[in-house]
């Protein structure tokens, strides 16, 4: 059973190497560099305290700068060069992109995704959260709706390919159409609307996420406000829209943005379902078709994605800073 053995060894080395760093570094700081004894005990403790945050942060800062900051800066720089990376061409890659029909379509589709998926996932999540709130079997229902979260995007695409299959003996959508006497159709090829059929997959996955968070938020609403509204004679719909929703608005926005960020990163679904054909291209999968071929243009697409995400990012930072105060 040598592969198993090798696997275990590598796991142990990886994990203990990491634990070892923190332990040894702290030991070094407290016992060797600034020992909390001897004549300079006070100064040493202060110095150790000043250094320690950076000790704690060092691995994280290193990893973040190498794996995220460096690629962002490096990609932007790379996008200013031609395909071989030898010639500086300024903004030409961006010019070429915006002249490209496929890119413009990808940008438009991406905007659709960024609007529809978070909205729909949040809506369904809120709906399920509210409806299951007082239901006896609510937790089971929630678990089942949450389950797609555990499925990979590739697995999910496979599952939905089966649903959308054109053969009425395989795809349930065409089986229903067949039952109603309609001709079978291929949902993936219907111009424009096929985008929505692809979005359905991500909505299917993300609804569970929205549901869990919103359901907890709903439970967190103070009972008094709800009871007061009931005494005032509010019907269940008024209760929900006028009393509950405004109180959890903050959470709704958080869920919404989290899903938006995710939408702008996901390429697997389009990549495996249509390969970007039939007018369903989106930016991340468009970038994949350029990668390793024309890195200049591929990184330019990545930078465009970054720019699209920028407002969400700024909003996120603002929120975080508000919390700090």
């Amino acid at each position: 059973m040598s592969p198993l053995f090798q696997g275990i060894i590598t796991i142990l080395v990886g994990v203990f190497g990491c634990v070892g760093y923190f332990y040894a570094a702290n030991l070094l700081l407290d016992k060797v560099i600034f020992p909390a004894r001897g004549p300079n005990i006070g100064r040493n403790i202060n110095r150790a305290t000043a250094v320690r945050p950076w000790l704690f942060l060092l691995p994280a800062i290193l990893a973040l700068s190498v794996y995220l900051v460096y690629p962002v800066v490096g990609s932007f720089w790379r996008s200013l060069f031609n395909r071989s990376g030898e010639e500086f061409i300024g903004m030409d890659n961006y010019g070429a992109l915006f002249a490209d029909d496929v890119f413009r379509q990808a940008l438009f589709n991406n905007a659709l995704w960024a609007l529809v998926v978070p909205a729909a996932a949040t809506f369904f999540g809120l709906l399920v959260a509210q409806l299951t709130d007082r239901l006896k079997w609510g937790n089971i229902a929630k678990s089942l709706i949450f389950m797609p979260m555990a499925i990979s995007f590739v697995g999910a695409s496979l599952i939905w390919k089966f649903v959308y299959a054109g053969d009425p003996d395989i795809g349930i959508i065409n089986a229903v159409r067949d039952g109603l006497g309609l001709d079978p159709m291929d949902p993936i090829q219907v111009p424009f609307w096929n985008n929505f059929f692809l979005m359905a997959i991500l909505i299917w996955i993300q609804t569970g996420f929205a549901m869990v968070i919103l359901s907890a938020a709903l439970r967190g609403i103070p009972e008094e406000t709800v009871e007061a509204a009931i005494i005032d004679g509010a019907n269940p719909f008024q209760l929900f829209f006028k009393i509950k929703v405004p109180q959890i608005m903050g959470t709704i926005v958080v869920v919404w943005t989290t899903i938006t960020i995710l939408v702008l990163k996901v390429f697997d679904i389009v990549y495996t379902m249509t390969g970007g054909n039939f007018g369903t291209q989106i930016l991340p999968s468009y970038m994949m078709t350029l990668m390793f071929r024309d890195d200049g243009r591929a990184t330019a697409v990545a930078v465009v994605i970054m720019v699209v995400v920028l407002p969400v990012m700024i909003w996120n930072i603002r929120q975080a800073q508000k919390e700090m105060r």
Partner: protein, 407 residues
């Protein structure tokens, strides 16, 4: 509170029905593929998975080779039972199928109803009964391999683990039979160098350190950002939040080049570091939000008692933050387990170091695109572990998530 909705009984019903419908709608896609993973290829294409428990009418071709032709006067006669003929004997070994129609050309395989006599291509006759017995007559000597007969038979549902065995051993049914004839058991094939078990181990080799390392690093960083005072803290927090949205694809090309330059190349070390880097912003963000919410007096009290930051962190913060740690761990585990892209780029591409997703996507989907049964089984093999982890740990997931994103 129950009486609020309860006042209106019809509303309660509406709620129940709506939820039931939603749950069904959410389950149908998965159930369809799951059922199909136990059916064989012919049955999948012949009837929808929702009809899986029922008999399927399939058309077959065979050669009347179970009996030698005999001559009666001018006529050559072959008599036998279709279910015993070489090409379909295996398919009907269980013996409870019945023939509904038969034919003599592939173009019209169900030309004659069972029990009626039809004209065959040699100018003679062919009669097939529902129980499979047939009588073939011809004025010429039939083909030595036996005359061709097409027939439609109602075949009982056949649920099988075959697809899963194919996926797990990476060998088709025929290849398995050949190896087993040489004395190998199913388990030998499973643990074979070529089998998927190795990739399964690889996946764990990637996911476990790629889950634990970022948690450790992030926990220390989150503690520093939550409870230590130092210049630039606000800026760092803002940076982490900003990095949450960096698209992953952006990082692949520059990082692979970097790894090659510093000599890591494509290796487990490289993929751990990559997953660590990509997972850190969320980890720090979630953990910091949780740790900030911990009661201040406990920490201050410990400080007064002379505990160092390291001690406070290991003795107080870590145990208290368990729900957040667990929730991030589940997230990161699911993400690294399901990841295809990072593994493809950062791991070498030989069979021995592929992870499950890559093996399934490259080897199995690549060579068996049209075989839904195999694809379905492949999907469920890769889904199984994350779903189990997910269902056993979901309590933590929810608790930790709430701390991180509900404020």
């Amino acid at each position: 509170m129950d009486n609020i909705a309860g006042q209106n009984n019809s509303l309660k019903w509406a709620v129940n029905i709506t939820v039931a419908l939603l749950v069904v709608a959410w389950l149908i896609p998965t159930v369809g593929l799951f059922v199909s993973s136990f059916r064989d290829r012919d049955q999948i294409t012949a009837s929808g998975w929702w009809l899986a428990p029922f008999s399927v009418e399939l058309t077959y071709r065979t050669r009347a080779d179970d009996a030698a032709p005999r001559q009666e006067g001018d006529l050559w006669i072959v008599e036998g039972n279709i279910f015993g003929t070489g090409e379909v004997a295996d398919a009907f070994a269980s013996g409870d199928a019945s023939i509904t129609a038969f034919g003599v050309t592939g173009r019209d395989p169900a030309a004659f109803a069972a029990g009626t006599e039809g004209e065959n291509r040699d100018g003679g006759t062919l009669l097939v009964m529902a129980d499979g017995s047939y009588r073939y007559t011809s004025t010429e000597e039939p083909d030595a391999r036996g005359p061709r007969i097409y027939f439609a038979a109602a075949t009982p549902p056949d649920f099988t683990m075959d697809n899963y065995q194919t996926i797990l051993t990476a060998q088709t049914a025929d290849e398995r039979a050949a190896s087993q004839a040489q004395g190998a058991t199913f388990w030998d094939l499973l643990f074979d160098e070529e089998g998927i078990f190795r990739n399964f181990v690889n996946t764990f080799t990637v996911t476990i350190p790629a889950t634990v390392i970022p948690i450790l690093i992030a926990a220390f960083a989150a503690y520093a950002l939550a409870w230590m005072d130092f210049p630039g803290r606000g800026l760092l927090i803002a940076a982490v939040v900003g990095l949450l949205v960096v698209p992953l694809q952006l990082a692949l090309v520059p990082l692979l080049n970097l790894h090659n330059r510093i000599g890591i190349g494509q290796s487990f070390l490289g993929i751990w570091m990559a997953h660590t880097g990509f997972g850190l912003p969320l980890a720090i963000y979630l953990l910091r939000n949780y740790m900030v919410g911990l009661p201040r007096d406990i920490i201050e009290g410990a400080k007064v008692d002379g505990a160092t930051d390291f001690q406070i962190f290991t003795k107080i913060i870590l145990p208290l933050s368990f729900p957040a740690l667990a929730s991030f761990a589940i997230f990161q585990f699911l993400w690294t387990w399901n990841d295809l892209l990072v593994a493809k780029v950062f791991l070498p591409s030989d069979d021995a170091s592929k992870v499950m997703t890559v093996r399934i996507a490259d080897d199995l989907l690549g060579s068996r695109g049209g075989d839904w049964g195999i694809l379905a089984a492949a999907a469920f093999v890769s889904i199984a572990v994350p779903v189990i982890v997910f269902f056993t740990m979901q309590r933590f997931l929810v608790r930790g998530l709430l701390a991180g994103s509900v404020k």
